[in-house]
């Protein structure tokens, strides 16, 4: 201990409160550790309950039926549990959303980082991010009340509840995420690379297309995948605007007709949760099986995006 150490001449003047600080160090360590542990434990608990109830579900419904059945009729007298019905609807609405969000988001990102004056950028970027804060219930009713009638006027055969309207508006909903994250990636491309390109006699378009965008590619792709993960998990818009109509998987591909009402994984969960499915009934357990599937899909998307960023990130050094 300190008594054994050689002390300076003025040692008597220095009396650090080592005891107290050692104690407080330990307290801080324990306290913060506990909170960190708490958040991990909560996550683990959620996953555990998902897995537990999902296992219960698969005791009643064979796994192969879940994966390969062509119909989703869990509330019928003779129920069928073909999850592909819900997955296909989820992926279809998400794909429509990405068709809106990727081109618009990328254009917005390129404009913001390459063309907008710094002053304008300082205003526009936060405003864009503010858009992400619009409650999705607002988006949902916007789709139902505003977009759907327009689609019905333009395209024959569009139902009141339909995948197209929900998907388009969902695209607008995830647009700020895609644009903002892509913009971060594009803005992070060092200025020296742009200068290097210009100094070689490239035009602005050439520099953006051949140097800036490839340099930001990993971040752009990651932003699109995260946008997709959000679209897959999005609940309110599809529940309100896409309806609750699980379409059987048929060779005529009618289940992929975006004009029709569909049921996504999330809107199914809402539907059952709204009803009075008794705890431990098979309907109740279905929620967890679907929730588990949803969780795996979004987890996979996040892992892919994470992997992509790490695999393809340019270090520029």
């Amino acid at each position: 201990m300190s008594e054994n150490l050689a002390t300076s001449r003025t040692a008597s003047r220095w009396k650090p409160r080592r005891k107290w600080s050692q104690w407080s160090e330990r307290l801080v360590y324990v306290l913060f550790g506990a909170f960190a542990l708490l958040s991990i434990a909560t996550t683990a608990g959620i996953i555990a309950s998902l897995v537990f109830e999902a296992i219960e579900f698969f005791k009643a419904v064979p796994f192969t039926h879940f994966l390969f059945d062509g119909e989703w009729t869990p509330l019928f007298a003779n129920p069928q549990y073909g999850i592909l019905v819900l997955i296909s609807a989820t992926l279809m609405t998400a794909a429509i959303a990405l068709c809106v969000a990727i081109p618009l988001g990328l254009m917005a990102a390129i404009y913001l980082s390459e063309f907008a004056a710094p002053k304008l950028r300082r205003w526009l970027k936060p405003s864009l991010e503010l858009l992400a804060g619009i409650p999705s219930v607002v988006h949902g009713y916007f789709a139902l009340i505003f977009v759907t009638p327009i689609l019905q006027a333009l395209i024959p055969g569009v139902e009141v509840f339909n995948a197209l309207s929900a998907g388009l508006v969902m695209g607008i909903a995830i647009l700020p995420t895609v644009a903002s994250l892509s913009e971060d990636a594009i803005f992070a491309v060092p200025q020296s690379l742009r200068q290097g390109a210009y100094a070689l006699g490239t035009t602005r378009r050439e520099a953006i297309q051949n140097v800036v965008l490839p340099g930001a590619l990993s971040g752009i792709v990651a932003s699109c995948i995260l946008g997709m993960a959000r679209a897959v998990g999005e609940t309110m818009i599809v529940t309100i605007a896409a309806g609750q109509n699980p379409r059987p998987i048929k060779p005529d591909l009618s289940f992929l007709d975006p004009r029709l009402s569909v049921q996504t994984m999330t809107s199914f969960i809402v539907q059952v949760s709204q009803g009075d499915a008794p705890v431990n009934s098979i309907e109740y357990k279905t929620i967890f099986a679907v929730g588990m599937t949803l969780f795996i899909i979004t987890l996979l998307l996040n892992i892919i995006s994470f992997w992509f960023v790490n695999r393809f990130r340019e270090s520029y050094e």
């Binding site: 004056a117 710094p118 060092p190 020296s192 690379l193 742009r194 200068q195 290097g196 390109a197 210009y198 100094a199 070689l200 006699g201 490239t202 035009t203 050439e206 051949n210 140097v211 490839p214 340099g215 340019e314 270090s315 520029y316 050094e317």
Partner: protein
């Protein structure tokens, strides 16, 4: 200027008349007159912040890209006013290449780093051949010929800088601007690049900014010494103190300021 005539080809490629440069309201460089002769190395020396890079960036109009940068006065490039409205800066930069202080290869393969500017400028001949030639010109070929597909960022700093020189040479510019190309490099890499510059100066007009006075005296035929009015970096307007052959500037400076600087008494 009998000395100059004896040493260098006096055909002027760049002629600077009463040039002043502002960043917004800040006067960075004031009233510069300067004639850059063809096919030799001109060094810009002077302490930090006296506008050497600013002047260099006027020559290929890189400062067009800097928000708030304004240029007054005239620069003629082989008789053409550089800042005339009909001059296309993209076309100009193809003629007047630039190498930067920090190596900035593109995050692409070594080959692509050189093939890209060749292709983008519409080269009609054999791209592969020109890539090899450029790498040879930049004294890098032997080191990279077996790994052309490798990412350029995997090269060492000195190799990256020579790659950037190769990239600039690939499009066969008329003038090569170099802004402290060795300042981020170790002494061995620096020596290699100096050798390279000595070889290139028979074919190209080179303007090099350097902090290193030995370097200026080793590689340049002409030297321009800059200072800033307050003497303090970044505070005042930069101006040209003295311009002459390197020999004259280093052995027989006309200005006391130059004498102090080249003898290492300040800066």
């Amino acid at each position: 200027m009998a000395l100059t005539a004896a040493l260098v080809d006096t055909d002027t490629v760049l002629s600077v008349e009463n040039l002043s440069v502002y960043y917004d309201r800040f006067l960075a460089l004031t009233q510069v007159y300067l004639n850059i002769p063809q096919r030799c190395v001109t060094a810009f020396i002077g302490s930090s912040g006296c506008g050497k890079s600013t002047l260099l960036r006027c020559f290929n109009r890189m400062n067009d890209l800097t928000m708030g940068c304004r240029v007054q006065g005239k620069i003629s490039y082989r008789g053409t006013d550089l800042y005339a409205p009909r001059v296309d800066p993209v076309e100009l930069r193809r003629q007047i290449g630039m190498v930067f202080q920090k190596p900035n290869p593109f995050p692409k393969s070594i080959y692509e780093n050189i093939a890209y500017p060749i292709r983008i400028n519409g080269y009609q001949g054999d791209v592969e051949e020109l890539v090899e030639q450029s790498l040879r010109d930049a004294a890098l070929w032997d080191e990279v010929k077996d790994k052309l597909k490798q990412n350029a960022l995997s090269l060492s700093g000195g190799q990256q800088q020579r790659l950037c020189i190769a990239r600039a040479l690939a499009i066969e510019p008329d003038i090569l601007l170099m802004d402290e190309p060795c300042s981020a490099l170790d002494p061995i890499s620096t020596a290699r690049i100096e050798d390279l510059i000595k070889q290139l100066r028979t074919q190209y007009t080179i303007i090099i900014v350097t902090h290193n006075m030995q370097q200026a005296s080793r590689i340049s035929q002409m030297t321009a010494f800059f200072n800033s009015s307050s003497g303090e970096a970044g505070a005042g307007a930069g101006y040209l103190v003295e311009y002459g052959t390197t020999e004259q500037i280093f052995t027989d400076p006309r200005q006391d300021l130059t004498r102090d600087y080249v003898s290492g008494r300040f800066g």
